[in-house]
């Protein structure tokens, strides 16, 4: 565990990419295979399942530290991470351990099969044997909340340096449903069997936001379509089965059983990139209707009827079992269109319609119409482009519509947690209603660190009242709040809930008398809700 803790510390703290990659590459050269495999799994988001509830761990840690539970909770609110809170409040260890990462993971597996008193004894024993940095990692493995400040891309780059397998190839090999339990270092990295995992997806190709459409060059080189507001997904049809992957590499197959019928309608060896949308027969339903289906592993019948989904197909990655990502987009799309044509009407898949344009002005107009069509903006794809891996510039661009905005005044401030434990970052904003201010949203992001420091100093000097961690401040600081959508919400006093609210600008130039009104907010709800 010491070696793994050292690696974690090295990649977690520095912001220097090269230092992270070097530390990872060294680790991949030197560590034992079982540990390497687990490290790779953990660093690519393959966390072991949580075997012990957070509540139990909290109880045991508070008990071992001799602290009341409420104080544990107060501390957790500041630290923002359960495992870290536990590792910080426990008394220092009295023993030490030289066991490896894979030993401790096996130990967690062993404990998970035992009754509760044995589990508790085993975990308290481990906490007492591990140094604080190792204890944090062990506890993160227990809580199933293991996350690290390094992207899968850097891990892949480091692994490429250590293994001599090309980066793009590794990226593909590391996709899918492998776990350290069902594969080996050799089977995964050194001599992989391509047929071993029928569910393995291709890395998603992601676009950057287009800043200046003038950069595109000749309009004839470009294909435009809507950027639909759903869940990006990759549908895999292989060997009579189907799999649906999210961009975050979550297997979502069972959440959207509607798509199962496509196994009968399309040939095996087909992989399609698209967008899962709630669909009313002709047009997409608002994202809010899809939302209740995201969190569930299985879907009740009622929800299936209320928010049926389709896959809006964007691209074809595999045809007849062959990887066609190198084929130009225009040709891939033509083949995709031929496939979709074979489907009967009412099948849960549609071809994402192209947007006709001959010059930039038309494109600008089409983009402006997005919100009315239930789309987030436009996607622009170079007709000759291959399907690349990851976020790349040049061939694909997203061109989202400008967000909705409203000018509001800050009324409450609360310190953040974790990264922002000692800064005020969580703010409540209000619109005016006559002489009153009506709070309508919270927002946490959008300011620079320097602005957060500035507003923190202001909050400290201008606190009117404290309610536990929340401070009431005088309604003088005006912010422009941006958001992507608005819905009616009886739970909120203002009657609305916003989607992705964030601070777009701190309007130091604007007096509070000029903020937007509740009336205006309600008009927005009527127009876009």
């Amino acid at each position: 565990m010491k070696r793994f803790a050292a690696l974690f510390a090295a990649v977690d703290q520095t912001t220097k990419t090269n230092a992270k990659v070097a530390a990872l590459a060294d680790y991949f050269r030197e560590a034992p295979e079982a540990d390497k495999l687990w490290t790779l799994a953990l660093f690519t988001g393959r966390r072991p399942r949580r075997t012990i509830t957070a509540g139990r761990l909290r109880d045991w840690a508070a008990e071992a530290a001799g602290l009341p539970l409420w104080l544990f909770e107060d501390s957790y609110a500041v630290v923002g991470d359960l495992a870290e809170t536990i590792s910080l409040i426990l008394p220092p260890p009295t023993r030490s351990s030289d066991e490896s990462l894979s030993f401790w993971i096996a130990e967690i597996g062993r404990l998970s099969k035992q009754d509760e008193p044995a589990r508790k004894a085993g975990i308290l024993d481990a906490w007492d044997r591990l140094a604080p940095a190792e204890r944090l990692l062990f506890t993160k493995l227990l809580t199933g909340g293991f996350r690290v400040g390094v992207s899968a891309r850097l891990v892949t780059r480091a692994l490429a340096q250590a293994s001599d397998v090309p980066e793009a190839e590794l990226q593909h090999r590391l996709m899918g449903s492998w776990t350290p339990a069902n594969t080996s270092w050799k089977g995964l990295i050194e001599a992989p069997d391509p047929t071993a995992d029928a569910s393995r997806p291709y890395p998603f190709y992601l676009a950057y936001q287009l800043d200046d459409p003038g950069d595109l060059g000749d309009p004839a080189d470009w294909f435009a379509e809507r950027k639909w507001d759903g869940i990006r997904g990759q549908l895999i049809l292989r060997g009579g089965d189907h799999y649906l992957w999210s961009r975050g590499e979550d297997l979502m197959t069972d959440r959207f059983p509607e798509l199962a019928e496509l196994t009968d309608r399309l040939p095996p060896g087909t992989v399609i990139d698209g967008e899962v949308l709630a669909w009313d027969g002709d047009a997409p339903l608002p994202f809010a209707r899809l939302q209740p289906r995201i969190g569930r592993k299985t879907v009740p019948k009622k929800l299936l009827a209320e928010a049926p989904v389709i896959l809006m197909a964007y691209d074809l990655l595999e045809e007849g079992g062959a990887d066609i990502r190198e084929v130009p987009f225009q040709e891939r799309r033509a083949r995709l269109a031929r496939l979709v044509e074979t489907l009967p009407p009412g099948a849960p898949m549609r071809l994402s319609p192209g947007v006709d344009f001959s010059d930039l002005d038309m494109l600008v107009e089409e983009r402006a119409a997005s919100r009315d069509l239930g789309a987030e903006g436009l996607m622009l794809k170079r007709r000759a482009s291959p399907y690349l891996s990851g976020r790349k510039r040049g061939d694909w661009w997203k061109w989202k519509v400008d967000p909705l905005t409203i000018d509001a005044v800050m009324v409450y401030a609360q310190a953040g947690s974790g990264r922002r434990a000692n800064l005020f970052t969580d703010f409540t904003f209000a619109v005016s209603d006559g002489d009153e201010f009506v709070p309508f949203t919270k927002a946490y992001s959008g300011l620079t660190d320097a602005e957060f420091r500035q507003i923190t100093a202001w909050v400290r000097r201008n606190t009117l009242q404290r309610f536990g961690p929340v401070r009431q401040v005088p309604p003088t600081q005006v912010f422009e709040i941006a958001f992507e959508g608005i819905q009616a919400s009886p739970r909120h006093k203002s009657g609305v809930a916003l989607r992705f609210p964030r601070m777009l600008r701190w309007r130091k130039d604007k007096p509070v008398g000029e903020i937007d009104t509740l009336e205006h907010l309600k008009e927005m709800l009527a127009a876009y809700g």
């Binding site: 501390s75 910080l88 400040g149 990264r419 434990a421 000692n422 400290r460």
Partner: protein
Amino acid sequence: MGVLSFTDRGIWCEAGGFYIDPWRPVAKALVTHGHSDHARWGMDAYLSTDIAAPVIRQRLGEDIRLDTIRYGEVRRIGEADVSFHPAGHVPGSAQIRIEVQGEVWVVSGDYKVVPDGLSDPFEPVSCHAFVSECTFGLPVFRWTPQDELKRQIDGWWAANRAAGRVSMLGAYALGKAQRLLAMVDPAGPILTHGAVENVNETLRAQGIALPDTIRVTPETNVKDYSGALVIATPSALGTPWARRFGTVSSAFASGWMALRGVRRRRAADRGFVVSDHADWDGLNAAIRETGAERVFVTHGYTSSFRRWLEGEGYDAGIVATEWEGDEAAEDAGVEEAS
């Protein structure tokens, strides 16, 4: 109320006719130490320890009316007997003891209980009521022991020196910076930011020993100092001032470095967990040793800490003050620029 009362100008002693660390102009201010949130402009008269006085003069001006007192000396002010006792926070920092008709109250100012090798160590003072800071009043804050800290910092500097890299350490200019200077193995040149060096000069002039340091000026040729340790204010890191040193290994020395999230946000290569405020165990030990039954907490995680003290059997309350200076604010970047 008692010996002291809490007003919107500061802590007021009716019997003595003075305020402690007031934040609005008053006639007579007793000042615990020189940090800017405790020693403020505009008071008609000040009283501080003799050790704290030079820094207070440096910051508030030579022309202020400042009287001094030695640690342990008892002075009658009005109807109150007043004495100052080491708080271990920074050189000259004091807890202020006020006795009126046999009732004793102590205002801690900022304090830490672990000796730092520079300031006079914290001295427990028994009292009936204790006004305690609790900047780090949660059990997640536990500082690295001083000898381990020294090993960590010396090791970090040595590794950078071996690689020909400059080590840049961000630390609060008054107190933390000098404490680190007094602690590190002076194995190579130590450069300082102007704000740090101003304090160094003042302390040296009053006879406090510090290792040799070189003030960084626009003329400093950074190439002459590969492998040096640079001690800078936290807010100087990442600015053009710091960038002239090229690729450095950067570190912060702060109590906030105990939190992974803050370490990651500050994005330094290292974070040393060190504070001039008491950690959780320090706060609890200090309060226990006063023997006080009433405790007022201020400055930090007051609501959690008050509730905890109540559970421990104290009559505990929260005092709203405007002391949120040095470390409480340093990470938020609202420290002074002097």
